[in-house]
Symmetry: C2
Amino acid sequence: MPPVGAGLWRSLPAHQVYGANTNVGKTIVSTVLCNAIQNQRKKAAFLKPVSTGALDDADDRHLSRFGAGTLTKCLYQFDEPVSPHLAARQKMIPRDDDLLASIHQTLSDWARSDIDLALVETAGGVHSPGPNGNSQADLYRPLRLPIVLVADSRLGGISSSISAYESLVLRGYDIQSVLLFRDDYYQNHEYLADYFNKKSIPLVSLSAPPPRPPVENADTQARDEEAMSSYYRQVSAESDILRLLEELNTKNQKRITRLEEMADRAQDLIWYPFTQHQGMKPKDITVIDSAHDDYFQTFGSSQSKESSAELRPTFDGSASWWTQGLGHGNPDLALSAAYAAGRYGHVMFAGAVHEPALSLADRLLKTIGNPRFTKVFYTDNGSTGMEVAVKMGLRAACDRYGWDASQEQISILGLKGSYHGDTIGVMDCSEPSTFNQKVEWYRGRGHWFDFPLVKMVNGTWKVEVPAELKADLGSEDAEFESLGSVFDLEKRLGSEATQRYKTYIHRTIKDLVERHGMKFGALILEPVILGAGGMLFCDPLFQRCLTDVVRDHPELFSPNASSPKSAPSWSGLPVIFDEVFTGLYRLGRPSSASFLDVHPDIAVNAKLLTGGLIPLCTTVASQEIFDTFSSPEKSDALLHGHSYTAHAVGCTVAVDSLRTMDDMDKNGSWDGFKADWDSKSVTSTSGPSDVWSVWSQSLLQDLSRAETVESVFGIGTVLSISLRDAEGGGYTSTAAKGLQQKLAVGGDQFNVHSRVLGNVLYLMSSVTSKPESLKEMEKLLRSSLI
Amino acid sequence: MPPVGAGLWRSLPAHQVYGANTNVGKTIVSTVLCNAIQNQRKKAAFLKPVSTGALDDADDRHLSRFGAGTLTKCLYQFDEPVSPHLAARQKMIPRDDDLLASIHQTLSDWARSDIDLALVETAGGVHSPGPNGNSQADLYRPLRLPIVLVADSRLGGISSSISAYESLVLRGYDIQSVLLFRDDYYQNHEYLADYFNKKSIPLVSLSAPPPRPPVENADTQARDEEAMSSYYRQVSAESDILRLLEELNTKNQKRITRLEEMADRAQDLIWYPFTQHQGMKPKDITVIDSAHDDYFQTFGSSQSKESSAELRPTFDGSASWWTQGLGHGNPDLALSAAYAAGRYGHVMFAGAVHEPALSLADRLLKTIGNPRFTKVFYTDNGSTGMEVAVKMGLRAACDRYGWDASQEQISILGLKGSYHGDTIGVMDCSEPSTFNQKVEWYRGRGHWFDFPLVKMVNGTWKVEVPAELKADLGSEDAEFESLGSVFDLEKRLGSEATQRYKTYIHRTIKDLVERHGMKFGALILEPVILGAGGMLFCDPLFQRCLTDVVRDHPELFSPNASSPKSAPSWSGLPVIFDEVFTGLYRLGRPSSASFLDVHPDIAVNAKLLTGGLIPLCTTVASQEIFDTFSSPEKSDALLHGHSYTAHAVGCTVAVDSLRTMDDMDKNGSWDGFKADWDSKSVTSTSGPSDVWSVWSQSLLQDLSRAETVESVFGIGTVLSISLRDAEGGGYTSTAAKGLQQKLAVGGDQFNVHSRVLGNVLYLMSSVTSKPESLKEMEKLLRSSLI
């Protein structure tokens, strides 16, 4: 099923009516509102998606009878007077997606007609289960209709009303008004009016409806009907109700006006990250009204002219800068965040401990599974976490080799095209490039190797040696039967390529140290893929050889170096893995280090750490690295720490995210994807043995053969498409713009928001993306490129 | 009233019984549990803090009758069968604080006796108002007792049970079990068992109690009693109940065991920020179980031997590293965070906009009120925000003066003792010091002025000129009648001190540029107080003169400089204010720049921005600074941006926090404090005219006269106490340790967690701290120092 758009129509204020509990009078309130509209010679429409006897007494029929001409519709009717999830057992059950699509379709149809107000009534309370057993508050969330909440006027109703309200808020709903019956004994309406007034939500109290007749017969029924009619006539003319209807209408208009002006206002007020503002127009700014699962709900996006809807689902193709893991608007993570906020807020971390920080440290070390790691250091983002890693690595090297870094320059070893963040210290860890060339204090401090790339070209997996490296390496491009065989390091380590790689690396380092007098303090790698540098898929054998040479030849770096030490001691140089992008299941495995079968001494994780919700970063290190900072001097300590270090909200959400992803891994949630990738061809002895992607092998095959495509790869959740560029590619290339624009226009069902890095367009799913969503994306990619 | 400890006793599992709604059977469930305990020859106790007739039918009397010998107690009994907040109108109303204290006292007494299980029953539903009209879920939160939730077995009960659960979770409660009656028609217990099982919360369903007799008379009453007794006999023997009781007991033990091991585990796993681990012992680690308002709840803290309670309130004296503003565990901020998480999760910000980021930009600029500012750039913490500020400032200067920063060193001007964060780029903005001397890549790039300090010595406000500055400045210490008169810049700018300051500053810069060939790219100041450098209160006149000289004499910096430009153009150097610590009401004003009556060109805010909940930082800049980065080249853009830039959760919480603080400011929430400070003596013409503190003038007077005290100051929420140190003070001084230890032991009511910076001990409140809390703190300080 296609994703549904969130519900917003210019010509039709459409609301969902939720009840604080069952039997609070949702249908009566709806009938009052519809009467009031109809009495103004306007048109009301009432939609009951799912109706069961007991819960609401066939509400659409009640509306038909008393609604003064209101258009009514029920999508699914069950007669059994129980909760819909039980009633549905006896009937054909509509799928949740179908239900949402039907509601959206109905409202869109109404928006194109002359309807002035539409109400969509739920069944029971906010969390009463829908036909498939999911809470209605969750089930209807993709539509995110503005809400009319009918509060409970009975004893206990203050509590149930506020709780119902909170359940809606924590799912990102906007509650636009609260209605309830006046009860002069319990006076809930007074208490709740105060309560909601503080939240700027108008509350309207209504006279209670006439009591039901104690005995039902033709006579009492007639009198009951007359009493109800009279009630509706009277209440629907009350000024509070008329004012409320006006206000609901105004809010709908204001919301649209605000969405219309947001891009302009953003252009005025916001200084965007990584953005050249010159020439940027408001129309270039994506206005995101909300998000759910893999989709943004965007305003003013291209869509078919016939559609009356203002919002459109837009696939979050960059996984929101590679952060997204467990779906936007995930209610479990929202509740976890709220729990930590409610239990702690943020509490001081230096010299203190709280459960979330401790649990996360524990779980993270288990998830990563590197026996060297014993310590966890917290920061806020990948850049600061890498600053910490660099401070750790350099100190360890200087300490062992007796260097005084204030007197001499200590450099790092890395790969060309690496990127470790935007703070100046870690900018210095990358070679001069577009990213840093104009940063006044940038001073690249290192040597960066060229390296062979993994890519699929014309249907074949290749390891391609860049032209400038061919002579040095004495090596040519190689073809592989599968991506798995590229990662078959056990086999490849015995090959001639290994010798060539190692010889070249050894010679280069020796030359840098001996002839150029360079001193190196750390080896820094992004395992497997160099992300920001342009989605460069490095031959894992090369990264492995680089690590091996550094560790096997400590004598390269200092005459003081002793012979190679065995793990967990570091040897040669501290090895730092920047797994900010590649770690924690982004590439399908808990740690991307496992692809190289290397245990780094220091590693940094962020992005997916919180499942895609809030900033948090960890730098993990070996005991030996930690011990380097141990001394009687306070000034020898790692003097780093941000205000919100190990904030409880982030740690709690991260514990939940890791647990969820670890469980998915263990429970075979990705087996369907893995089957397509025939992981049996991989024979690595340690670590998980699978190399796979959520993107199908046949998609890669087909795209790689497209005329405009230079190469592609897919691994884990990442798909990378390198477009042919006469100019040679790079960060300033515009070759991928055309494809980006085609995807932005999208297909019938949704648009795609994607990011490009020069001539590379990449797409990234979350770890919970559904196969159907990805199938649709694949269809769209084929039609855009082939 | 003293703060209450959260409820945890080693010998007594104590639980609070909440109901998903009223009339769900809380008392019957409590009676079943008490019966089951009593039948095992153990002792149960039942506490009803507040009872009203209708809601629960005199529950303690029911327990007395059917509880098989359970000890029962009711603290407040109302007969009117309405919600307690209405019933209380007719009676003496207990204050919420008194109620909490009584509950804690009762449970502590029971813990010292032979009671094996205590239940504290609430009235109605989770949000039913307590006697003072506050929701019980909020009212009882400081105790944070583990919860037994009685779910609703009736129609609609799935929804009300889940919503009640969510309301409790978002206040940081731990729900340890759910009980409800079996109803084979609605089968809520089946649905809810699945639901809570996924959350690892055990659910036990019970047989429903016998129906109440339709007519009440002596005969039916006797039969009813017999039926109930028989019911309790039967149900309380059910294996599920016995297993549950065992589990509750085990959970209490496990929780204590976990708290006992946490410091050890932390010592094993955590690499702490700014901490020398050598010599650190687990006992040095504060174990924080939860937090509320100004207080942590700490485990194993010193307290009177007689107390049986395991947790103790501990004043968060560093405001959790200067972040805390609106109280720990603030339910409004928790709900805001949850709303944003539910509506968006995190959504991509480059090239996109969402309401929270836009609203925050808008509100922030209004709060700060600097007419130069037009653009907001988001990052995650003060350090990264300052990196951005430095990039902005240097680029603007290099651009105007035609410098090629890759070829020559561009430095900054600042003050000695400044600190701008832990990333290497902003470390370079501070002079060599303990903080950075061992960071391998640190290269201080700037000149840093000594400056006169503001302090109260022996009861008198002074501006003290450091010895090393006296000759250069030709100026002596000066005394002031009040802190307000120190800030009376309008008057002081006409004084001789101003001329001396300006002459000295001008001469120094001229010398640095002409004789030492230095080039400067920005002036960076922490207005008023240099925080991390040791709570150095700089003479505001000196900071003002520094800014004036830089802006009035652009020719100092480059021969290319034109004559002073008028605002909003920057002149001389871009002026950057680091208000990460001092901004947003920390010193009692929305912006600390107003104390200097200076409009900087760039400013950075963080810490209080989110009210003390989660990391977020803003760097705001003038249009002219922004325009410097505008060009047809992408590479000229400010290429900076973290993954979670402008994350929706942070922005939403920040909008709420700013609104709350702005409203408090407007509504005179701090008038009581201000009255003590006689703000009329200040006559600055622009900006708010008040200089005040939450710490009383008389406290400062008294402390400043204490023998061990060198000087003190108080401003806004900050109190700083400089202890005499024979060794001369500084970051590595231990002079303040003694006072810190005294405060840690605390008084009768609570401990104090504080941080020291060398010989300085500071204390910081939140902006919502209650006068009574601060009075208690003042009492403790007096008794510790005088």
